[in-house]
């Protein structure tokens, strides 16, 4: 079992997943109000993946992902105010309003982005793992990508090098079934993405990405392998996104019934709550958490709306680092 010290830790897990859900719902609202511009990719439905992985993350381990990144940032402890402010393009955002939804980073939280080009974060993640190995620090890099990116050429260039050099990297494929509007069976000649490392001798495992405990357990084993010098490792997280690819996606490529059915049967937050109720955690505890998150999100949204836009005088700053 990946998650230790049940009760408190379980509630923290629940809280994190719910925080992501409520944050994303609010982001969707603000987008509709015109407060958030550009591309905005919501993580609703996939919360168990990142929260499960992070439950076994150790200090110094890095995280890098694609543009569907809000959940990853909240999960690694970045401040919802700073994330929301970046979405609204304010100077109080993590990237001072210059990155937006897809390009946010927090070096202090070991979160390396937030990358807007499909698949580009994968060799970068292997490079972070390369640095870990070079420095002999035992840290692991969790490198996320989607089922769409799984067909990118650079993924396989990276698999080859990661395996050749035994890099401590766990590749986490978030298979949410749709690469934008193209379902996996229409884009991938083989759909067992976890076995895509076979040609490179990389072990892979299919995991129920809607079950936070299963995600946690599988990740713990994979990360342990990597820490012992037996990396890399591939985990395919079978998951589902409830919302469109981005805010402008009419989602005509799937039926409402399909989405509803997953929500009813597989929702990672509801199912985990049921599990915890069975374990004897009282309803009250959940109510407290709900209320706390409501306040957090509301404060984050207010902060993001009220914060100042970046100064024009900041336009040409941070192109180069002075030394």
């Amino acid at each position: 079992m990946g998650i230790k010290e049940p009760i408190n830790t379980y509630l923290e897990i629940y809280e994190k997943m719910l925080l992501i859900r409520r944050f994303e719902e609010k982001a969707g609202q603000l987008y509709g109000m015109g407060k958030i511009g550009g591309f905005c990719h919501l993580y609703i439905g996939q919360e168990a993946v990142v929260v499960g992985v992070d439950s076994v993350k150790k200090k110094g381990d890095q995280v890098i992902t694609s543009y569907r990144d809000h959940g990853h940032m909240l999960s690694c402890g970045m401040d919802p105010k700073g994330v929301m402010s970046e979405l609204t393009g304010k100077k109080t955002g993590y990237s001072k309003g210059k990155g937006g939804s897809m390009h946010m980073f927090s070096k202090s939280k070991d979160f390396y982005g937030g990358h807007g080009i499909v698949g580009a974060q994968v060799p970068i993640g292997a490079g972070l793992a390369f640095a870990n190995k070079y420095k002999k620090n035992k840290s692991v890099c969790f490198t996320y990508f989607g089922d769409g990116a799984a067909n990118q050429g650079q993924i396989y260039e990276t698999f080859n090098m990661a395996s050749l050099w035994k890099l401590p990297v766990v590749f986490i494929i978030e298979n949410n079934q749709y690469a934008m509007g193209t379902s996996i069976d229409r884009a991938s000649s083989t759909q067992k993405l976890f076995s895509r490392g076979q040609a490179f001798n990389i072990p892979g495992k299919l995991v129920d990405g809607m079950d936070v405990l299963k995600v946690s357990k599988a990740t713990e084993a994979a990360a342990k392998d990597c820490r012992n010098g037996n990396g890399p490792y591939i985990l395919e997280m079978n998951t589902y996104r409830y919302k469109g690819h981005s805010m402008s996606d009419p989602a005509k490529y799937r039926t409402r019934e399909e989405v509803q059915s997953i929500k009813n049967k597989k929702d990672p937050i509801e199912n985990f709550q049921k599990y915890l109720l069975k374990k004897g955690i009282k309803e009250d505890e959940f109510k407290k958490i709900d209320q706390k998150i409501k306040t957090t999100i509301s404060e984050a949204a207010d902060f993001a709306i009220e914060s100042e836009v970046p100064e024009l005088s900041d336009l040409f700053n941070d192109i180069y680092l002075e030394h």
Binding site: Q62, I64, G93, Y94, S95, K96, G97, K98, G99, H103, M104, F105, S106, K107, Y112, G113, G114, H115, G116, I117, A120, V122, P123, I124, G125, A126, G127, L128, A129, F130, A131, N132, Y134, K135, C141, G153, Q154, E157, T158, N160, M161, L164, N317, D318, I319, Y320, L321, H323
Partner: protein, 449 residues
């Protein structure tokens, strides 16, 4: 009797001369096609040289250890077997006597096989290749986080022998052979840079950097800005750029203007060995991504070889190579080699040219350029890249915007021609920037044509 002349072979596209590192045969030896007859030292490596037909070794026309033998110079005489048999003894006797062949080996100076030459006042002259290797080695000694990766950089010692000796000194953890996957290893190196290391990535040639363009532009150049100043990418991407010799369209192009158009990158294209060393050391210490454009022809070029001042050369500073009063000639990289000749030609007709080596293409040292034009009132540019969106085009506009009132004549641009590089020698020559074109343009801009 049928003598067969064995000629100094061209063993690489840019090889113009070579040396006999070792003879593997002696006069009188019977040779079969495919037998090794000598070790030839080229500008890149020591290579084995095979006989292409059967015969008996007659004379060895060039002594072992001789360098700077032009390609196609006779280096040995073979005889075919029938005619050779009866004269065999005679030939053996002649072996050690000076040859009277038309190659006149007496004129070929035997010199140290080491490329580092000692000249009379005992100041060491370095080739660009040695300068780059030394810069890498010194920075790797100084900073444990500096490492070199790329295709054939370690065990092969570099496709162009630039990383010679580095694997021995620094080991395989810091000098890393990669698979042939530019997109992947450039992204990986960028990640290593974000992770606190200082990668130097060698592209076997910059033509292959096109495979990695997304990582260079979208990751290396932009992440600092997109992260609000949190994540810098201290990476050096280096390797030969521009045309070599007859390697045709896909392997002959100068990317300086491509990279120079991207905010977030620094772009260097040195000419001399001294600049190559001082600028590469600065590039490795720079906390930003630096594109370092080398040139295969200049690696061993005499005009680019120089003494080394062992000082860091600041990025973004141009160098006034030759002072003059009639016209400013702005160039960089291999353009300087051609420009130096053009400046001499101009001197012969009493035109005084001020030659500026930009050295850094981004950021450009505008002030040095403008200062010179305020003095000469005329300007031409010379570079190897395609003519459209060239650095010369950009400078023309900047000069017009800033020092228009000082100009007595429009700024003229010389560059490579607007065509994919052809293979045939004559067509390639017609495509490349050359001294005559620069000289003609100097005359034109000074109304002397």
């Amino acid at each position: 009797m049928n003598n067969i002349e064995i000629l100094m072979p061209a063993l690489s596209p840019t090889m113009e001369e070579g040396g006999i590192a070792k003879w593997l045969v002696k006069p009188g030896d019977e040779i079969r096609a495919g037998d090794l007859i000598a070790e030839i030292e080229t500008d890149k490596a020591i290579m084995e040289f095979e006989a292409t037909s059967d015969g008996i070794v007659g004379e060895l026309l060039v002594k072992e250890g001789t360098n700077q033998i032009k390609v196609n110079t006779p280096i040995a005489l073979f005889r075919d077997e029938a005619s050779a048999t009866k004269e065999k003894n005679l030939i053996i006797k002649k072996t050690n006597e000076p040859s009277t062949s038309k190659a006149n080996p007496l004129e070929l100076k035997a010199s140290n096989s080491d490329n580092t030459k000692e000249i009379t006042n005992s100041i060491k002259i370095f080739t660009v290749r040695e300068a780059i290797r030394d810069a890498l080695a010194e920075e790797m000694r100084a900073d444990q986080n500096v490492f070199l990766m790329g295709e054939e950089v370690a065990e092969y010692e570099g496709a162009y022998k630039v990383s010679q000796g580095l694997l021995d000194e620094f080991g395989s953890e810091r000098v890393i052979d990669t698979p042939i996957t530019e997109h992947g290893f450039t992204g990986l190196a960028a990640g290593a840079a974000f992770g606190g290391l200082k990668p130097v990535v060698e592209f076997m040639t910059f033509n292959f950097s096109l495979q990695a363009m997304d990582q260079i532009i979208n990751t290396c150049a932009k992440t600092l800005y997109m992260s609000g100043g949190q994540m810098n990418c201290p990476i050096v991407l280096r390797g030969p750029n521009g045309a070599a010799s007859q390697v045709a369209a896909q392997h002959s192009q100068d990317f300086a203007p491509w990279f120079a158009s991207v905010p977030g990158l620094k772009v260097i294209q040195p000419f001399s060995a001294d600049d190559a060393k001082g600028l590469l050391k600065s590039a490795i210490r720079d906390p930003n991504p630096v594109i370092f454009l080398e040139n295969e022809i200049l690696y061993n070029d005499k005009s680019a070889s120089s003494k080394i001042s062992d000082q860091l050369i600041p990025i973004g500073k141009a160098n006034v190579l030759i002072e003059g009063s009639d016209v400013t000639l702005i160039s960089y990289g291999i353009g300087i080699k051609h420009s130096l000749i053009a400046v001499e030609l101009a001197k012969d007709v009493d035109i005084s040219v001020e030659l500026i080596d930009l050295r850094t293409i981004r950021p450009i040292d505008y002030e040095t350029v403008f200062e010179s034009i305020r003095k000469t009132n005329r300007c031409i540019t010379a570079e190897e890249c395609f003519p459209i969106c060239s650095i010369g085009n950009h400078l023309s506009a900047s000069i017009m915007e800033n020092v228009f009132d000082y100009l007595d004549s429009p700024v003229l641009n010389c560059s490579g021609k607007d065509v994919p590089m052809p293979y045939a020698k004559n067509l390639e020559e017609a495509t490349l920037l050359n001294p005559k074109e620069i000289f003609d343009t100097i005359k034109k801009v000074t109304n002397r044509d």
